[in-house]
Protein backbone atom coordinates (compact mmCIF):
# COMPACT_ATOMS: atom_id res chain seq x y z
CA UNK A 1 0.00 0.00 0.00
CA UNK A 2 2.83 2.36 0.86
CA UNK A 3 4.45 1.59 -2.43
CA UNK A 4 1.22 2.34 -4.26
CA UNK A 5 0.93 5.69 -2.51
CA UNK A 6 4.42 6.65 -3.51
CA UNK A 7 3.82 5.60 -7.08
CA UNK A 8 0.55 7.54 -7.27
CA UNK A 9 2.08 10.65 -5.73
CA UNK A 10 5.10 10.51 -7.99
CA UNK A 11 2.99 10.10 -11.10
CA UNK A 12 0.74 12.99 -10.05
CA UNK A 13 3.74 15.26 -9.57
CA UNK A 14 5.22 14.23 -12.89
CA UNK A 15 1.90 14.68 -14.66
CA UNK A 16 1.28 18.12 -13.17
CA UNK A 17 4.83 19.25 -13.99
CA UNK A 18 4.61 18.04 -17.57
CA UNK A 19 1.16 19.48 -18.22
CA UNK A 20 2.12 22.83 -16.66
CA UNK A 21 5.14 23.14 -18.90
CA UNK A 22 3.13 22.23 -21.98
CA UNK A 23 0.35 24.65 -21.07
CA UNK A 24 2.80 27.50 -20.51
CA UNK A 25 4.45 26.75 -23.81
CA UNK A 26 1.15 26.65 -25.63
CA UNK A 27 0.08 29.98 -24.15
CA UNK A 28 3.37 31.61 -25.04
CA UNK A 29 3.30 30.30 -28.58
CA UNK A 30 -0.30 31.24 -29.30
CA UNK A 31 0.30 34.71 -27.92
CA UNK A 32 3.30 35.19 -30.17
CA UNK A 33 1.71 33.84 -33.31
CA UNK A 34 -1.74 35.32 -33.10
CA UNK A 35 -0.98 38.52 -31.25
CA UNK A 36 -3.82 37.82 -28.89
CA UNK A 37 -2.70 40.37 -26.35
CA UNK A 38 -2.69 43.34 -28.69
CA UNK A 39 -4.94 45.15 -31.13
CA UNK A 40 -1.96 46.34 -33.15
CA UNK A 41 -2.87 46.58 -36.82
CA UNK A 42 0.15 46.88 -39.16
CA UNK A 43 -0.04 49.69 -41.69
CA UNK A 44 -1.06 48.83 -45.23
CA UNK A 45 0.54 50.91 -47.95
CA UNK A 46 -1.63 49.41 -50.66
CA UNK A 47 -4.42 51.79 -49.61
CA UNK A 48 -2.46 54.62 -51.20
CA UNK A 49 -2.26 52.88 -54.57
CA UNK A 50 -5.70 51.68 -55.62
CA UNK A 51 -4.69 51.95 -59.27
CA UNK A 52 -2.11 49.19 -58.93
CA UNK A 53 -2.96 45.53 -59.25
CA UNK A 54 -1.29 44.79 -55.95
CA UNK A 55 1.20 46.08 -53.39
CA UNK A 56 3.13 43.33 -51.67
CA UNK A 57 6.31 42.77 -49.74
CA UNK A 58 8.59 41.34 -52.36
CA UNK A 59 10.48 38.69 -50.41
CA UNK A 60 12.74 38.41 -47.40
CA UNK A 61 15.57 40.68 -46.28
CA UNK A 62 18.54 39.78 -44.16
CA UNK A 63 19.71 42.37 -41.68
CA UNK A 64 22.91 42.73 -39.74
CA UNK A 65 20.96 44.12 -36.82
CA UNK A 66 17.57 45.25 -35.64
CA UNK A 67 19.10 46.91 -32.58
CA UNK A 68 18.94 50.68 -32.62
CA UNK A 69 22.14 50.89 -30.56
CA UNK A 70 24.12 49.53 -33.51
CA UNK A 71 23.01 52.24 -35.92
CA UNK A 72 22.17 55.27 -33.82
CA UNK A 73 25.24 57.15 -35.09
CA UNK A 74 23.69 56.98 -38.55
CA UNK A 75 20.34 58.39 -37.40
CA UNK A 76 19.96 62.08 -38.17
CA UNK A 77 16.72 62.56 -36.33
CA UNK A 78 13.90 60.77 -34.58
CA UNK A 79 10.53 62.42 -34.87
CA UNK A 80 6.92 61.85 -34.02
CA UNK A 81 4.50 63.07 -36.64
CA UNK A 82 1.40 62.57 -38.71
CA UNK A 83 1.53 61.08 -42.18
CA UNK A 84 -0.08 63.77 -44.32
CA UNK A 85 0.55 62.45 -47.80
CA UNK A 86 1.86 59.44 -49.72
CA UNK A 87 2.99 60.57 -53.15
CA UNK A 88 3.18 58.95 -56.54
CA UNK A 89 5.83 56.42 -57.46
CA UNK A 90 9.09 57.99 -58.64
CA UNK A 91 11.56 56.01 -60.73
CA UNK A 92 15.21 55.90 -59.77
CA UNK A 93 18.14 54.26 -61.50
CA UNK A 94 20.21 51.76 -59.56
CA UNK A 95 23.75 52.19 -60.94
CA UNK A 96 24.56 48.51 -60.34
CA UNK A 97 25.46 47.10 -63.75
CA UNK A 98 23.09 44.29 -64.64
CA UNK A 99 22.85 42.03 -67.67
CA UNK A 100 20.06 42.85 -70.07
CA UNK A 101 18.30 39.57 -69.34
CA UNK A 102 18.09 40.44 -65.67
CA UNK A 103 16.91 43.98 -66.27
CA UNK A 104 13.97 42.58 -68.20
CA UNK A 105 12.56 40.78 -65.19
CA UNK A 106 13.44 43.33 -62.52
CA UNK A 107 11.08 46.04 -63.68
CA UNK A 108 11.46 49.64 -62.52
CA UNK A 109 13.16 50.72 -59.30
CA UNK A 110 10.78 53.10 -57.59
CA UNK A 111 10.73 55.30 -54.49
CA UNK A 112 7.58 56.29 -52.66
CA UNK A 113 7.55 59.70 -50.94
CA UNK A 114 5.88 59.79 -47.53
CA UNK A 115 5.29 63.26 -46.06
CA UNK A 116 5.23 63.48 -42.28
CA UNK A 117 4.21 66.61 -40.37
CA UNK A 118 6.45 66.81 -37.32
CA UNK A 119 4.65 67.05 -33.99
CA UNK A 120 7.48 66.11 -31.62
CA UNK A 121 11.25 65.83 -31.92
CA UNK A 122 13.26 63.25 -30.04
CA UNK A 123 16.67 63.58 -31.59
CA UNK A 124 18.01 65.85 -34.26
CA UNK A 125 21.40 66.68 -35.70
CA UNK A 126 19.72 69.16 -38.02
CA UNK A 127 17.72 72.34 -37.71
CA UNK A 128 14.31 70.78 -37.45
CA UNK A 129 11.16 72.32 -35.98
CA UNK A 130 7.73 71.14 -34.97
CA UNK A 131 5.28 71.80 -37.79
CA UNK A 132 7.78 71.12 -40.57
CA UNK A 133 7.05 68.43 -43.10
CA UNK A 134 9.79 65.94 -43.78
CA UNK A 135 9.71 63.41 -46.59
CA UNK A 136 11.06 59.92 -46.16
CA UNK A 137 11.04 57.54 -49.09
CA UNK A 138 10.31 53.83 -49.27
CA UNK A 139 11.91 51.70 -51.98
CA UNK A 140 10.44 49.03 -54.17
CA UNK A 141 10.06 47.67 -57.69
CA UNK A 142 7.20 48.03 -60.12
CA UNK A 143 6.68 44.93 -62.25
CA UNK A 144 3.63 44.52 -64.46
CA UNK A 145 1.58 47.03 -62.41
CA UNK A 146 2.40 45.26 -59.13
CA UNK A 147 4.45 47.15 -56.57
CA UNK A 148 6.94 44.92 -54.77
CA UNK A 149 8.10 46.78 -51.68
CA UNK A 150 11.65 46.02 -50.67
CA UNK A 151 11.58 43.36 -47.97
CA UNK A 152 11.63 44.84 -44.45
CA UNK A 153 10.25 48.16 -45.71
CA UNK A 154 8.19 50.28 -43.34
CA UNK A 155 4.62 50.79 -44.49
CA UNK A 156 2.56 53.94 -43.94
CA UNK A 157 -1.02 55.12 -44.18
CA UNK A 158 -2.21 58.69 -44.51
CA UNK A 159 -3.43 60.05 -41.19
CA UNK A 160 -1.52 57.72 -38.93
CA UNK A 161 0.54 58.91 -35.98
CA UNK A 162 4.10 57.59 -36.20
CA UNK A 163 7.59 57.70 -34.74
CA UNK A 164 10.44 57.20 -37.24
CA UNK A 165 14.23 57.03 -37.03
CA UNK A 166 15.49 58.85 -40.10
CA UNK A 167 18.87 58.55 -41.81
CA UNK A 168 20.21 60.49 -44.77
CA UNK A 169 22.13 58.53 -47.39
CA UNK A 170 25.63 60.05 -47.70
CA UNK A 171 26.19 58.45 -51.11
CA UNK A 172 23.63 60.57 -52.98
CA UNK A 173 22.98 57.68 -55.33
CA UNK A 174 19.21 57.52 -55.26
CA UNK A 175 18.90 61.28 -54.96
CA UNK A 176 20.68 64.03 -53.08
CA UNK A 177 20.07 63.83 -49.33
CA UNK A 178 17.84 60.80 -49.69
CA UNK A 179 15.98 60.28 -46.41
CA UNK A 180 14.95 56.80 -45.34
CA UNK A 181 13.75 55.02 -42.24
CA UNK A 182 16.73 53.40 -40.58
CA UNK A 183 16.20 49.69 -39.80
CA UNK A 184 13.17 49.63 -42.10
CA UNK A 185 10.08 48.28 -40.40
CA UNK A 186 12.03 48.09 -37.13
CA UNK A 187 12.70 51.84 -37.25
CA UNK A 188 9.10 52.89 -37.75
CA UNK A 189 6.45 52.79 -35.02
CA UNK A 190 2.72 53.21 -35.33
CA UNK A 191 1.20 54.95 -32.34
CA UNK A 192 -1.97 53.46 -30.96
CA UNK A 193 -3.55 53.92 -27.53
CA UNK A 194 -0.57 55.86 -26.24
CA UNK A 195 1.97 53.19 -27.19
CA UNK A 196 4.41 52.67 -30.05
CA UNK A 197 3.98 49.48 -32.05
CA UNK A 198 5.83 47.68 -34.81
CA UNK A 199 6.65 44.10 -35.75
CA UNK A 200 9.36 43.94 -33.09
CA UNK A 201 7.08 45.39 -30.42
CA UNK A 202 3.63 43.95 -31.20
CA UNK A 203 2.49 44.68 -27.64
CA UNK A 204 3.61 48.31 -27.77
CA UNK A 205 6.23 50.25 -25.87
CA UNK A 206 6.64 53.57 -24.13
CA UNK A 207 6.49 56.62 -26.42
CA UNK A 208 9.11 58.69 -24.63
CA UNK A 209 11.52 55.78 -24.55
CA UNK A 210 10.97 55.18 -28.25
CA UNK A 211 11.38 58.81 -29.18
CA UNK A 212 14.66 59.10 -27.30
CA UNK A 213 16.26 55.70 -27.89
CA UNK A 214 18.58 56.95 -30.62
CA UNK A 215 20.06 59.79 -28.55
Amino acid sequence: MNQNNIIITTLIIAFVAGVSILAANSLLTSDTKAGLLTNYIPSDMSKAFPELDDVIEGGEASMSTTNIEDVKDQIQYTIRGTVVNIGNLEEWIDPTPQPEELQKIMGQNVKIPVDIAVTQIGKTKLDLKVGEIITVKVLGRLIDNTLYLNPNSPQFEVGEDVIVHVSIDPNDIIEKDFKFVQLGEHGKFKIQDGKAFNAKYPHGRDLVKTLNEAQ
Binding site: Q3, A14, N25, E101
Partner: protein, 221 residues
Protein backbone atom coordinates in the same frame (compact mmCIF):
# COMPACT_ATOMS: atom_id res chain seq x y z
CA UNK B 1 -11.38 12.75 6.82
CA UNK B 2 -11.26 12.96 3.04
CA UNK B 3 -9.49 10.38 0.91
CA UNK B 4 -6.74 12.86 0.05
CA UNK B 5 -6.16 13.68 3.70
CA UNK B 6 -5.96 9.98 4.52
CA UNK B 7 -3.46 9.48 1.73
CA UNK B 8 -1.33 12.38 2.98
CA UNK B 9 -1.42 11.07 6.53
CA UNK B 10 -0.29 7.61 5.40
CA UNK B 11 2.55 9.08 3.40
CA UNK B 12 3.76 11.19 6.31
CA UNK B 13 3.40 8.33 8.81
CA UNK B 14 5.19 5.81 6.63
CA UNK B 15 7.89 8.10 5.28
CA UNK B 16 10.68 7.26 7.80
CA UNK B 17 10.33 3.52 7.15
CA UNK B 18 10.17 3.95 3.45
CA UNK B 19 13.42 5.87 3.50
CA UNK B 20 15.14 2.76 4.84
CA UNK B 21 13.41 0.13 2.72
CA UNK B 22 12.40 1.76 -0.53
CA UNK B 23 15.71 2.84 -1.96
CA UNK B 24 15.17 0.87 -5.12
CA UNK B 25 11.64 2.15 -5.51
CA UNK B 26 12.77 5.71 -4.94
CA UNK B 27 15.32 5.39 -7.68
CA UNK B 28 12.69 4.09 -10.08
CA UNK B 29 10.29 6.88 -9.19
CA UNK B 30 12.99 9.48 -9.60
CA UNK B 31 13.71 8.19 -13.07
CA UNK B 32 10.00 8.27 -13.99
CA UNK B 33 9.61 11.83 -12.68
CA UNK B 34 12.71 13.00 -14.47
CA UNK B 35 11.59 11.46 -17.74
CA UNK B 36 8.19 13.13 -17.46
CA UNK B 37 9.69 16.54 -16.78
CA UNK B 38 12.30 16.16 -19.49
CA UNK B 39 9.54 15.23 -21.92
CA UNK B 40 7.73 18.42 -21.02
CA UNK B 41 10.81 20.55 -21.45
CA UNK B 42 11.85 19.01 -24.72
CA UNK B 43 8.41 19.81 -26.10
CA UNK B 44 8.71 23.44 -25.02
CA UNK B 45 10.83 24.70 -27.90
CA UNK B 46 7.99 24.97 -30.36
CA UNK B 47 10.14 27.85 -31.54
CA UNK B 48 12.43 25.30 -33.14
CA UNK B 49 9.70 24.15 -35.48
CA UNK B 50 9.46 25.88 -38.81
CA UNK B 51 6.23 27.47 -39.88
CA UNK B 52 4.86 28.84 -43.13
CA UNK B 53 3.97 32.43 -43.89
CA UNK B 54 6.61 34.03 -46.06
CA UNK B 55 5.90 35.96 -49.22
CA UNK B 56 8.45 33.56 -50.66
CA UNK B 57 7.01 30.29 -51.82
CA UNK B 58 8.44 26.90 -52.63
CA UNK B 59 9.57 25.94 -56.07
CA UNK B 60 7.66 23.15 -57.72
CA UNK B 61 10.95 21.29 -58.00
CA UNK B 62 14.08 21.24 -55.85
CA UNK B 63 16.27 21.18 -58.94
CA UNK B 64 17.02 24.78 -59.82
CA UNK B 65 19.60 26.64 -61.86
CA UNK B 66 20.91 30.07 -60.99
CA UNK B 67 22.74 32.62 -63.06
CA UNK B 68 25.45 34.63 -61.31
CA UNK B 69 25.75 38.18 -62.61
CA UNK B 70 29.46 38.95 -62.74
CA UNK B 71 28.84 42.62 -63.39
CA UNK B 72 26.42 42.86 -60.50
CA UNK B 73 28.63 41.00 -58.03
CA UNK B 74 31.59 43.08 -59.15
CA UNK B 75 29.94 46.15 -57.66
CA UNK B 76 30.33 44.79 -54.12
CA UNK B 77 33.19 45.85 -51.89
CA UNK B 78 34.82 42.65 -50.67
CA UNK B 79 37.86 42.49 -48.38
CA UNK B 80 38.24 46.21 -48.91
CA UNK B 81 38.38 46.26 -52.68
CA UNK B 82 36.09 46.65 -55.65
CA UNK B 83 35.75 44.79 -57.93
CA UNK B 84 36.57 41.43 -56.39
CA UNK B 85 34.14 39.41 -58.46
CA UNK B 86 35.76 35.97 -58.34
CA UNK B 87 36.13 36.03 -54.56
CA UNK B 88 32.57 37.27 -54.09
CA UNK B 89 31.22 34.50 -56.28
CA UNK B 90 33.27 31.86 -54.47
CA UNK B 91 31.89 32.93 -51.10
CA UNK B 92 28.29 33.00 -52.28
CA UNK B 93 28.63 29.61 -53.93
CA UNK B 94 29.58 28.17 -50.56
CA UNK B 95 25.99 28.89 -49.59
CA UNK B 96 24.73 27.16 -52.71
CA UNK B 97 26.90 24.18 -51.84
CA UNK B 98 25.61 24.08 -48.24
CA UNK B 99 22.08 23.75 -49.52
CA UNK B 100 22.82 21.24 -52.28
CA UNK B 101 25.01 18.97 -50.18
CA UNK B 102 22.81 18.91 -47.09
CA UNK B 103 19.29 18.92 -48.48
CA UNK B 104 17.24 17.40 -51.27
CA UNK B 105 17.62 20.58 -53.30
CA UNK B 106 19.84 20.29 -56.32
CA UNK B 107 21.22 23.72 -57.16
CA UNK B 108 23.60 24.51 -59.96
CA UNK B 109 25.02 27.51 -61.76
CA UNK B 110 23.98 28.05 -65.32
CA UNK B 111 25.88 30.10 -67.83
CA UNK B 112 22.96 30.13 -70.22
CA UNK B 113 21.14 33.10 -68.77
CA UNK B 114 19.02 34.10 -71.71
CA UNK B 115 15.37 34.20 -70.79
CA UNK B 116 13.88 34.22 -67.32
CA UNK B 117 16.04 32.46 -64.71
CA UNK B 118 16.85 32.77 -61.05
CA UNK B 119 19.64 35.27 -60.54
CA UNK B 120 22.33 36.11 -58.01
CA UNK B 121 23.53 39.70 -58.15
CA UNK B 122 23.92 42.84 -56.06
CA UNK B 123 21.86 45.98 -55.60
CA UNK B 124 22.18 49.36 -54.00
CA UNK B 125 20.57 49.89 -50.61
CA UNK B 126 21.16 53.10 -48.62
CA UNK B 127 21.06 51.24 -45.30
CA UNK B 128 24.14 49.21 -44.39
CA UNK B 129 21.97 47.26 -41.95
CA UNK B 130 20.29 45.71 -44.98
CA UNK B 131 22.65 42.99 -46.13
CA UNK B 132 20.73 41.18 -48.81
CA UNK B 133 17.32 40.26 -50.05
CA UNK B 134 15.75 37.38 -51.87
CA UNK B 135 12.77 38.44 -53.90
CA UNK B 136 10.03 36.63 -55.65
CA UNK B 137 9.20 37.47 -59.23
CA UNK B 138 6.33 36.19 -61.29
CA UNK B 139 6.51 36.22 -65.03
CA UNK B 140 3.44 36.95 -67.10
CA UNK B 141 3.08 33.21 -67.60
CA UNK B 142 2.73 32.68 -63.89
CA UNK B 143 6.07 30.91 -63.61
CA UNK B 144 7.97 31.80 -60.47
CA UNK B 145 11.61 32.86 -60.31
CA UNK B 146 13.64 34.46 -57.57
CA UNK B 147 16.46 36.94 -57.37
CA UNK B 148 19.08 36.93 -54.63
CA UNK B 149 20.78 40.29 -54.21
CA UNK B 150 23.54 41.49 -51.91
CA UNK B 151 23.93 45.12 -50.87
CA UNK B 152 26.77 46.86 -52.72
CA UNK B 153 26.74 50.00 -50.55
CA UNK B 154 30.43 50.96 -50.31
CA UNK B 155 30.11 51.61 -46.57
CA UNK B 156 29.35 47.91 -46.08
CA UNK B 157 32.48 45.73 -45.99
CA UNK B 158 31.94 42.12 -46.96
CA UNK B 159 34.60 39.88 -45.43
CA UNK B 160 35.41 36.25 -44.64
CA UNK B 161 36.26 36.53 -40.97
CA UNK B 162 33.02 35.22 -39.51
CA UNK B 163 32.00 38.64 -38.29
CA UNK B 164 28.44 39.65 -37.88
CA UNK B 165 28.34 43.38 -37.30
CA UNK B 166 26.54 46.26 -38.98
CA UNK B 167 29.54 47.22 -41.12
CA UNK B 168 31.63 44.08 -41.60
CA UNK B 169 29.87 40.92 -42.57
CA UNK B 170 30.94 37.40 -43.46
CA UNK B 171 29.66 36.86 -46.98
CA UNK B 172 29.53 33.05 -46.98
CA UNK B 173 27.55 33.02 -43.73
CA UNK B 174 24.97 35.40 -45.14
CA UNK B 175 24.89 33.32 -48.34
CA UNK B 176 23.96 30.25 -46.27
CA UNK B 177 21.03 32.20 -44.88
CA UNK B 178 20.07 33.63 -48.24
CA UNK B 179 19.97 30.25 -49.93
CA UNK B 180 17.56 29.24 -47.22
CA UNK B 181 15.30 32.05 -48.42
CA UNK B 182 15.88 30.96 -51.99
CA UNK B 183 14.62 27.49 -51.12
CA UNK B 184 11.39 29.00 -49.76
CA UNK B 185 12.07 29.37 -46.05
CA UNK B 186 11.56 32.60 -44.18
CA UNK B 187 12.78 33.87 -40.84
CA UNK B 188 12.25 31.65 -37.82
CA UNK B 189 12.64 32.16 -34.14
CA UNK B 190 14.88 29.81 -32.22
CA UNK B 191 18.27 31.48 -32.08
CA UNK B 192 21.26 29.59 -33.36
CA UNK B 193 19.26 26.41 -33.86
CA UNK B 194 18.35 27.83 -37.25
CA UNK B 195 20.23 29.15 -40.19
CA UNK B 196 17.00 30.99 -40.84
CA UNK B 197 16.70 32.47 -37.37
CA UNK B 198 15.22 35.86 -36.78
CA UNK B 199 15.90 38.87 -38.95
CA UNK B 200 19.34 39.77 -37.68
CA UNK B 201 22.36 37.56 -37.95
CA UNK B 202 24.17 35.54 -35.30
CA UNK B 203 26.43 32.50 -35.21
CA UNK B 204 23.58 30.41 -36.61
CA UNK B 205 24.45 31.69 -40.07
CA UNK B 206 27.66 29.66 -40.16
CA UNK B 207 26.02 26.51 -41.51
CA UNK B 208 22.63 25.14 -42.40
CA UNK B 209 21.08 23.53 -39.34
CA UNK B 210 19.15 20.29 -38.86
CA UNK B 211 15.74 21.97 -38.45
CA UNK B 212 16.23 23.86 -41.69
CA UNK B 213 17.38 20.77 -43.54
CA UNK B 214 14.32 18.84 -42.42
CA UNK B 215 12.01 21.67 -43.43
CA UNK B 216 13.52 21.94 -46.90
CA UNK B 217 13.45 18.20 -47.40
CA UNK B 218 9.76 18.13 -46.51
CA UNK B 219 9.15 20.19 -49.64
CA UNK B 220 11.64 18.72 -52.07
CA UNK B 221 11.46 14.97 -51.97
Amino acid sequence: MSQMSQLSAKLIYNFPRMEMTMTRLTQIMTVITSLAIITGFTTVPNVSAHSEGSPLTWFSSGTQSLCYSSSGLGAMKFDGSTPNTAAVKTQIKLGQSQMSVNTDMNLSETTSCTGYKSWVTSYYDPSTANLSKTSILFTSGGVQYKTMEYNNNQYLYWVTNGNCSPLTMDLSNVANHEFGHFSGMYHQTGGSSHTMMSSSCDSGYSSIKAADIAFVNDHYL
